[in-house]
């Protein structure tokens, strides 16, 4: 059995276990996993940017757009189908990312980070001040349907989770395909040497723009799924702390593999839940301390633990 086939089989088995977990785990754990997978999609987009040497502190912009598409489409258009909402939210986030990309793709380092942050804070300000957009309270999200199927209660939690799992797997697979392509390999190439990339005949700005759009679309999809899981959207989704949370998870997870964002996201949700339960007044300190320890001892994130364990001498023929 060749190596690629073994890896594919391993991931298929992991997906099956995760799907089964939806039926076996208590409802609170399924909800936690659902949320972790939704936010993992946002972090997956950050992974693409991170590998290019760019840190975005504004992914909450697209996350919030995705979420508000769910809230507003239900309220004003009576749209509740999860598939339609996911397509709509992703497409709108992608369109906004195309526009934002024209500006941010010109910048690097702190300027890129701060500009992306600025856009999300503008959206936050607009949402907070606009009554028609729910102001500070936001919207409750109606019960979603799935191609006409309208589950309730525990069944809804399971179906919603499975829907998120399928969407996350599709997102991870897309990014995996992207990263192994020539276009994907330009991520680290741009980080290493923009001059050479230009002299290979590629527009660095165009390539970065494409990555901003991909990351934006993934964050929008994450926002849709998160809104469907939580059942509520509010301006906090666009606030800078939400973006900071995604950056935190990227550091926690590492950028070595497309699975890492989901693993990191799940760990983060668990860490926050337990920190809040056992140290309700100082839970932020627990998160801060964790971040500090990670940077000191695992600068490449938790995925580096796994990749170190299975590290083998590399050859040029390895995929």
């Amino acid at each position: 059995m060749n190596r690629s086939y073994q890896i594919a089989l391993r991931y298929a088995a992991a997906l099956a276990v995760l799907a089964a977990a939806g039926f076996l785990l208590p409802q609170w754990a399924v909800f936690l996993l659902n949320l972790a997978l939704s936010k993992g999609l946002v972090v997956l987009g950050l992974l693409v940017l991170w590998r290019t040497g760019l840190i975005s502190f504004g992914q909450a912009l697209y996350f919030c757009i995705g979420g508000y598409v769910v809230g507003m489409a239900g309220l004003y258009l009576d749209l509740h189908d999860a598939f339609v909402l996911l397509a709509f939210g992703t497409a709108l986030s992608l369109a906004v990312a195309v526009l934002v990309g024209f500006l941010v793709a010109r910048y690097r380092q702190i300027f890129f980070a701060m500009l992306s942050l600025a856009f999300s804070m503008i959206l936050y300000g607009v949402l907070v001040k606009t009554e028609a957009l729910g102001s500070t309270d936001g919207f409750n999200v109606g019960r979603p349907t799935f191609l006409g199927y309208a589950p309730e209660g525990e069944a809804l939690a399971i179906v919603s989770y499975l829907f998120t799992l399928a969407a996350s797997a599709a997102g991870a697979f897309t990014v995996w395909l992207y990263l192994r392509s020539t276009l994907g390999h330009l991520t680290t190439a741009i980080r290493d040497n923009e001059v050479r990339v230009e002299y290979l005949g590629v527009s660095v700005r165009g390539a970065i723009h494409a990555k901003v759009v991909l990351a934006g679309a993934l964050a929008g999809a994450g926002g849709v799924l998160s809104a469907l899981a939580v059942g509520h959207v509010d301006p906090e989704m666009a606030y800078w702390t939400t973006s900071g949370e995604f950056v935190f998870v990227t550091i926690l997870a590492g950028t070595g593999n497309v699975v890492a964002p989901f693993l990191g996201s799940a760990l983060f949700e668990l860490l926050r839940t337990y920190a809040f339960q056992y140290t309700p007044y100082t839970w932020q300190m627990v998160l801060g301390g964790t971040l500090l320890l990670l940077i000191l001892f695992l600068p490449d994130g938790i995925w580096s633990l796994l990749s170190r364990r299975k590290a083998a001498p590399s050859t040029r023929r390895e995929a």
């Binding site: 020539t182 290493d192 290979l200």
Partner: protein, 269 residues
Amino acid sequence: MAAMLEARQLTKSFGSVIAADQIDVAVAEHEVVGIIGANGAGKTTFVNMVTGYVKPSAGQIFYEGKEITALAPREVTRIGICRSFQVPQVFMSATVFDNLLISLGVAERDLVRFWRPMRRPHLEAEAERLMRRFQIDAYADQAAMLLPQGVRKMLDIAMAVVHRPRLLLLDEPTSGVSVEEKFGVMDTIMAALREQRVTVLFVEHDMEIVTRYAQRVLAFYEGAIVADGPPEQVMADEQVRRYVTGEALPAAAAGPSGGAQAKPEIGDA
């Protein structure tokens, strides 16, 4: 013969410093041209202008009869002009093999193929061939950041030729290469380029290299070309001996100020 590359009144100033001063030059297809001059003479500025890295303050550049003065580096590459750098511009965290694979993948210039896996048999075979051609196959799996300078130079040039350029500009291909290795390095480079029938302009400080490999030499001094012709003719030129190679001239020939104006030996720079 019609000029492949032509510069007309090409000028570049950085504030009050004139780095290129109304350069007029034409290069024919398949020529191998050496560019010499002391540090700050305008050699690299000329290469940078031709390849779109800096925009001229005045003047025009033509390639195969079409004006390319305003083109960006990527556009210059796409029309068949490629370059290597004084400081090699490679992807430091990638291996030699992956540096070439990325370059080859990009050189396909096909949006659909861009989405296909980078590791494809025909690209891998071409990368292997290039590594052998430039004699860097022993370093295939080494990250570029760990390479000796000479190997990194070779990689830089190999990455420049993946586009099968028609005009290649090499900025100091043997700088940082040991004296013992420099002819071997140049032999390898020129053999690989002859195979592709590339027109070559190379900037070089080493007069032995220039004399041996160039068919024609352009000598720069203070942003202008002071001599242009076959190597032996240019090397014998009085201005070149005084300002470029820094050879002491007999007092009578050197004029009233004698050899005092002679610049330092450029190989020391």
